[in-house]
């Protein structure tokens, strides 16, 4: 009984934790490793630091580019545009990092697909010397926007005004920081008993196959629909 009282107390306490809105940016760092053939790519992938795999899957969201690129990870894009191997590009392009528990699983998935392609190929696919794959990693810098919210309902107001960097930080980067690989919104909302339904709805938003501005729109829709329907 004493224990459940303390749990209830903690819950009330958790409820009062404010949500601090952060922003972030990435600075690229060269690893010095580059591949010109598919075999070289495979060899480097076996040992490259997981941060580099993360960068080539997620970093593109914060890099200069136009919305809706043909492929959502750099490996698939290289296979298509430098190796001119459409089949391989499609197989690499469908890898969904959110389906896999960690970066090591992504590494294994990438290696399996590449090995299969190398086994099936009579020659080693190669790129021209100015189309090499450069392995990059990054440093993330996190800014304080000084915006703080205390109640879940306030999300309806703040999400539409969030910068792409804020969306990246709270919805993507968060999965590397939080217990259970949650985004920051759900990690915070689970502290409010009555918000579990909203958490469930947020869990359905796919963080990978969208741009940051699309993600912002989807999150806005989910949150505003929830509050409208629940009459809060």
């Amino acid at each position: 009984m004493a224990q459940s009282n303390s749990k209830a107390k903690n819950r009330t306490k958790t409820k009062r934790i404010p949500f601090e809105i952060k922003d972030c940016a990435l600075v690229g760092i060269a690893t010095g490793k580059k591949a010109q053939t598919l075999r070289e790519l495979r060899d480097i992938l076996q040992t490259i630091h997981p941060d580099s795999i993360y960068y080539h899957f997620w970093g593109g969201l914060l890099r200069p580019r136009f919305e809706n690129p043909e492929f959502n990870n750099d490996f698939a894009s290289w296979a298509r545009h430098a190796l001119h191997d459409k089949d391989l590009a499609e197989k690499l392009g469908i890898i969904d990092p959110t389906d896999l528990t960690d970066l090591e699983e992504i590494r294994i998935e990438l290696l399996d697909i590449i090995e299969e392609r190398l086994d099936a190929s009579e020659y080693v696919p190669w790129s021209s010397s100015d189309e090499r794959f450069y392995f990059i990693t990054s440093q993330i810098v996190v800014f304080d926007t000084r915006k703080v919210i205390k109640e879940p309902k306030e999300l309806e107001m703040v999400i539409p005004a969030m910068s792409p960097g804020s969306i990246f930080y709270h919805f993507i980067d968060a999965r590397r920081r939080t217990f259970g690989n949650l985004d920051d919104f759900r990690a915070w909302l689970y502290g409010f008993n009555e918000m579990h339904d909203l958490c469930g709805r947020l869990a359905t938003v796919d963080p990978f196959f969208s741009t940051l501005t699309e993600l912002r729109s989807q999150l806005t829709d989910v949150v505003s629909t929830y509050f409208r329907e629940s009459g809060q």
Binding site: V27, F66, Q139, F143
Partner: protein, 413 residues
Amino acid sequence: MTVKLERYAEIVGEDVIDQLRQLVTPLKGIRVVHVNSTRKGGGVAEILNKLVPLKKELGIDVTWEVIEGSEEFFKCTKGFHNALQGNKIDADSDLLKIFEETNMENAAKLRPVLNDADIVFIHDPQPAPLVKHFPDRKGKWVWRCHIDVSRPHRRVWKYLRNFIMNYDASIFSLAAFAQPLPHREYLIPPSIDPLSEKNIDLSQTEIQTVLSNFDIDTERPMMLQVSRFDRFKDPVGVIKSYRLTKKFIPTLQLVLAGGEATDDPEAKTVIDEVIKAADNDRDIHVLLLPADAHRVINALQRASDIVLQKSIREGFGLTVTEAMWKGKPVIGGDTGGIRIQVVNHHTGFLVKAPEGAALRARYLLLHRDRLLEMGKKAKTFVRENFLLTRHLREYLTMMVSLIHESEGRIELG
């Protein structure tokens, strides 16, 4: 907030300026020095002319020093520049001696400033050996490479690497330029300053005046390339593209505008080649402009229909960003930093040969709606990615990381 920072905030938003302020907080009290080889002319001097004052506005104690050298010294460094961009030219041993001696002399002059600085940025190969003359240096030294060194002439790179490996970090504009070095290599593309004379809005009257000063017909279409007279910028190839395009658009004019950087002894030879290739064509305007003709360049970029940057090698190509900022599509050489600015078929076209440039120029001049649409996209792309504030944010992040020896994540605020 200072007036200048307020003006930046109007363009990029208050939040971006606030981020810069947050980055500066952990850097309070440090002393920063930039060193390069020319105060005027070329992209490096232009970037420093903007970055240094803005760092000062944010409260950083920063100075900019320029090394001095003889004509022979610059002949040697121009050779390095060409070799680093792939030309197989070996450095003459007498010139190498001058190169090293000049750096030793400059080290003696700069000793009081550099020895106690917390962060020293050395730009490009000209002052690279300075580091060897400061064995008791207090701060972190960073080598900033502005050149396309993706495929350097190995012998020259090997020679320069002996100096560069002594730095604490280096910065390259693209991953493709980074070379194996025993320290952290940051990837920071350069930027333009939207408030500079070269990029601010101009009145139509001023633009017209500039054109009439150079006898350029304001009623006829115009293609422009702005760059140093350097073979890597392929000005003769641009003339070839113009001739191929003019067959279909007979009213077309071409303007090749460039200045002379004090550290480029080869410019005169290239200008002679360009004048010869122009062959007295009255519609080709070869303009030799002083290094401070920023408003003139601005007017020419705004007046042109298409901007070309048909480089064969390019560190970054700030003129591409400048043109895009003015809403112009760019036909650029498929090389180096041009690749990250010109998003093929979106903000312009990437080409390999003069024929490719002619094909795309003809297409754009005959499809005005497409030309305007690409120009609009180009401007947005620059606003989001290539303005000075982004560049400064990345420099400051790197500085915080170096001073505080941070690894993956830097939390501010």
